[in-house]
């Protein structure tokens, strides 16, 4: 128990704490600068509960992809295909329900299985053929999106989903946006997997020393396969939530989401070289990006410029680079201090 306690402390005093401060500062800034009262005397902008729920609702899909990518990146891998897979799964789900005539729960279940299967394709290419994850998932990134486009011939959009299904994406349950509950359950599951089981321990070992893991008798290939299959499964969950939020399934769903998700994971302190990282860090990273994006849209200045999207991209990039710099700064400073003061003779 002692080790567990110390693990907690060590984790919280590092990168994650810094990120939490940034998140609080961001939130306070937008709360004071982004909340206004309109002509009718109603409070609008960042400081309203509605807006906060909106942020949560819009974070779920990218948040899920970030959760999917955290174990992958901890093993020193990468999965660029999750955004495209979200699109493909959305289309498959729409097709199963609309064209296949299946009830929503059955269609959803099948979609999850297909997502895991697509993750299995990545897993097979990476573990059985020993191809680099970056190249494999760059390939499936195009493949999955291409399949989605081909199925819909670029024009079909599935709409007209029943109210009960849209409840998942557009309503609240027990006070919170419904999909937030799904997101929390997945987050908890991934957190437990990474931080409390031998699986997470093995991911970390593979990320640090793949050969060392093999010599220790750890099932390297099977664990690597698991993280990619899991990524596919979670991308499928994200696809269903996405469809429920927008009420339609289109082939371009989730375009570019993989990059936001990777940004959130790295911002959350997971090393792109593998071995170190945490799920709670990823959650903070997702929150920091979501608050920034939504908060900017609430600033009167930005609203006037009609450029919230561009601004948020710029600031997200700046935030990522700052966080990375801050994480290596202590090391650089320590090196600098130990350098000689006296110049060469």
């Amino acid at each position: 128990m002692n080790t567990a306690k110390r693990d907690w402390k060590a984790l919280l005093t590092r990168h994650e704490m810094l990120l939490l401060y940034v998140l609080i500062a961001e939130w306070l800034f937008f709360y004071f600068a982004g909340t206004t009262t309109n002509r009718r005397g109603v409070v609008v902008g960042f400081g309203t509960m509605d807006r906060q729920f909106d942020i949560l609702r819009h974070s779920c899909e990218i948040g899920l992809l970030a959760l999917a990518l955290t174990p992958v990146i901890i093993t020193a891998g990468i999965d660029l295909s999750v955004g495209s897979l979200l699109g493909l799964c959305a289309i498959l789900f729409g097709q199963l329900w609309h064209d296949g005539g299946l009830p929503i729960p059955v269609a959803a279940g099948l979609t999850l299985a297909l997502g895991a299967l697509a993750g299995g394709l990545n897993a097979t290419l990476i573990t059985a053929l020993r191809l680099p994850p970056l190249i494999v998932t760059l390939g499936t990134y195009s493949l999955f999106r291409g399949l989605a486009e081909a199925i819909t011939r670029g024009s079909i959009t599935y709409t007209g989903f029943p109210e009960t299904f849209l409840f998942v994406g557009q309503e609240r349950w027990l006070g919170l946006p419904t999909q937030a509950w799904i997101f929390f359950v997945v987050a908890l599951a991934v957190w437990l997997l990474v931080h409390r089981t031998t699986f997470g321990r093995t991911f970390r070992t593979i990320g640090l020393a793949p050969e060392g893991a093999r010599y220790a008798g750890l099932p390297v290939e099977r664990r690597l396969a698991l993280v990619y299959v899991l990524a596919g499964l979670i991308a499928a969950i994200a696809a269903i939530i996405y469809t429920a939020r927008l009420g339609q399934a289109k082939a371009d769903a989730g375009t570019g989401y993989e990059l936001f998700a990777i940004t959130a994971v790295v911002l959350g302190g997971t090393s792109i070289f593998g071995g170190t990282g945490s799920v709670h860090g990823t959650l903070l990273g997702v929150a920091a990006i979501a608050v920034l994006k939504n908060g900017l849209a609430c600033l009167p200045v930005v609203m006037g410029m009609n450029a919230a999207e561009e601004m948020s991209g710029l600031l997200t990039g700046a935030l990522l680079l700052l966080a990375l710099t801050a994480s290596v700064l202590p090391k650089i400073l320590a090196n600098f201090r130990s350098r000689p003061h006296a110049p060469a003779p």
């Binding site: 089981t197 070992t205 640090l208 020393a209 060392g212 170190t276 130990s338 006296a342 060469a344």
Partner: protein
């Protein structure tokens, strides 16, 4: 800078003098007052357990680190704020265990990179480059073509190129850090000749090695470091091995190898005509009994590690039979080997034996996930107490089970690597170079642990390039050459017999 051609008498001002050097890293005091003196034309051995401060001392002399206190005097002049470039200009060169050459460039190009001025815009005089490389290599008696790509050279040949670079740069002080660690017997003798040649040319050589016999063979004087302090400089003549070991560890060690006391029991492992085409192992047959230490001798590259990898399922055998306690095994993966009670402590500790960035506790339980965590849920309490048990049992010097293995000295890292496999309660333990790069104190401890394990009934296969170790520890000795077992000798064999079998010069199969 020309080399001083005559050895100077010992009374003149020394080539290098270090006085009361201190250095701390954070709170750890690596050096606590080191005095050291190197004369021209002297081979001065530097000895000490891992963590005694040898590496720090080298880094200070080569300008990589700055001392906190004390003075460095080179040829009578006090040097302050030594940088790597300044050390180079003063004629200080260091030959590391792993040569730092560019593998895709030729020997001549590598030498030129070190010696020619660094201006980008100049004509390259290729013939001069080759001539110089040829001359420098000839001077140390190396028959290496200047036009050969470094990639194609063996490790000792690359070391010779490094030495040629040092000579070309007019080095007066050459530091050699365990230069023979990865060399075969023949190559070692080539290197000894070069060291003697350097000495004859008036170069001061600081020679670091864990192999005591080398020090007695090569060195004029020896300085012993212990806990960051120099505990004395002695002429090698008149020193005994025991006296030297006592200086290093600061305590009396009655004998280097603990006596054999176990009585081997029933045959546990039977290997019959085993081969693995992929790794070059062929027609290997031998038995190991429970409680027996079976030494595996031979030259580097004889196929001993390859055989171990076959027995551990890393490169499965494609012919022959492996039987363990009466059951015929097909070992296709380390998981299967572990399940049958086979454990393998690999040769490359830092890459395969431990994960440096992970805590001791994680490393110790790594091969034990299925048994310690049968539900896959981590049990931190159980893990911690198991790690503590092994830290106590094997006397691992560390801050606690949560300390990363990378923070430990080599010997203690090796103990963690060993602990990982002892935790699996194996029946057959394969140790691959268990004391390589480990200081004398820890080496003795590891030997006693191996003996104790044999006494407890473990079958042990001990692979070692340290011949005295194989002779001192083994109940029987298998000798390998060219991927196959050439002889099985009794444990009380002498070194020449084993070496002869390893070289393949003795009548085959003599037991």
């Amino acid at each position: 800078m020309p080399i001083t051609l005559r050895a100077l008498p010992c009374m003149s001002s020394p080539l290098l003098a270090l006085s009361q050097l201190t250095k701390s890293f954070g709170g750890a005091r690596a050096l606590r007052g080191v005095n050291f003196e190197l004369q021209a034309g002297e081979v001065h051995a530097l000895l000490g357990e891992n963590g005694a401060g040898k590496s720090t001392l080298i880094k200070i002399v080569t300008g990589a680190h700055q001392p906190d206190g004390g003075t460095i005097t080179v040829a009578g002049q006090i040097v302050a704020g030594l940088t790597p470039a300044a050390a180079h200009a003063l004629g200080i060169a260091c030959i590391y265990q792993q040569p730092a050459l560019f593998p895709d460039l030729t020997v001549a190009e590598n030498i030129a990179l070190r010696l020619e001025p660094g201006s980008a815009l100049r004509r390259v005089d290729w013939p001069a480059r080759r001539t110089r490389a040829h001359d420098l290599l000839a001077r140390i008696g190396a028959s290496i073509a200047p036009t050969a790509e470094v990639r194609t050279l063996s490790m000792p040949e690359q070391q010779l190129v490094e030495i040629a670079c040092a000579l070309g740069a007019g080095a007066r002080i050459v530091i050699m850090d365990e230069p023979t660690a990865s060399l075969t017997h023949k190559e070692q003798h080539l290197l000894y000749a070069v060291v003697r040649d350097l000495r004859a040319h008036g170069v001061g050589v600081i020679y670091i090695s864990h192999r005591l016999e080398e020090i007695f063979m090569l060195a004029d004087r020896v300085t012993v470091l212990r806990d960051g302090q120099s505990v004395g400089t002695h002429p090698v003549d008149g020193l005994t091995e025991t006296a030297l070991i006592r200086l290093m560890v600061g305590r009396e060690m009655t004998q280097i190898y603990p006596p054999a006391e176990s009585v081997p029991g029933e045959t546990l492992l039977t290997v019959r005509d085993v081969g693995c085409a992929a790794s070059g192992v062929k027609h290997v047959s031998f038995d190991v009994r429970a409680g027996e230490i079976f030494g595996l001798g031979g030259l580097v590259g004889a196929g001993r590690t390859e055989l171990a990898r076959v027995l551990f399922g890393l490169t499965p055998a494609d012919s022959g039979e492996i039987t363990l306690a009466g059951r015929r095994l097909t070992l296709r993966s380390p998981q299967e080997a572990i399940a049958h009670g086979i454990a393998y402590v690999p040769e490359d500790r830092r890459r395969h034996g431990v994960v440096l960035d992970l805590p001791i506790a994680h490393n110790v339980t790594m091969a034990l996930h299925r048994h310690l965590f049968p539900t896959s849920w981590l049990r931190f309490g159980a893990e911690r107490s198991l790690a503590l048990e092994f830290i106590r049992d094997l006397a691992v010097k560390c801050a606690g089970p949560a300390a990363p293995v990378g923070s430990l000295s080599g010997g203690n890292q090796q103990k963690v690597s060993l602990a990982r496999w002892l935790a699996t309660k194996p029946r057959l333990l394969i140790l691959d170079e268990p004391t390589q790069g480990v200081d004398v104190g820890a080496k003795g401890e590891i030997h006693r642990i191996i003996r104790r394990l044999a006494r407890e009934g473990l079958a042990v296969i001990l692979i070692s390039s340290d011949l005295p170790e194989v002779l001192g520890m083994s109940d029987r000795i298998g000798v390998m050459a060219g991927g196959t077992l050439t002889a099985i000798l009794p444990g009380h064999s002498d070194a020449p017999t084993v070496m002869a079998a390893a070289l393949g010069s003795t009548e085959k199969g003599a037991a």
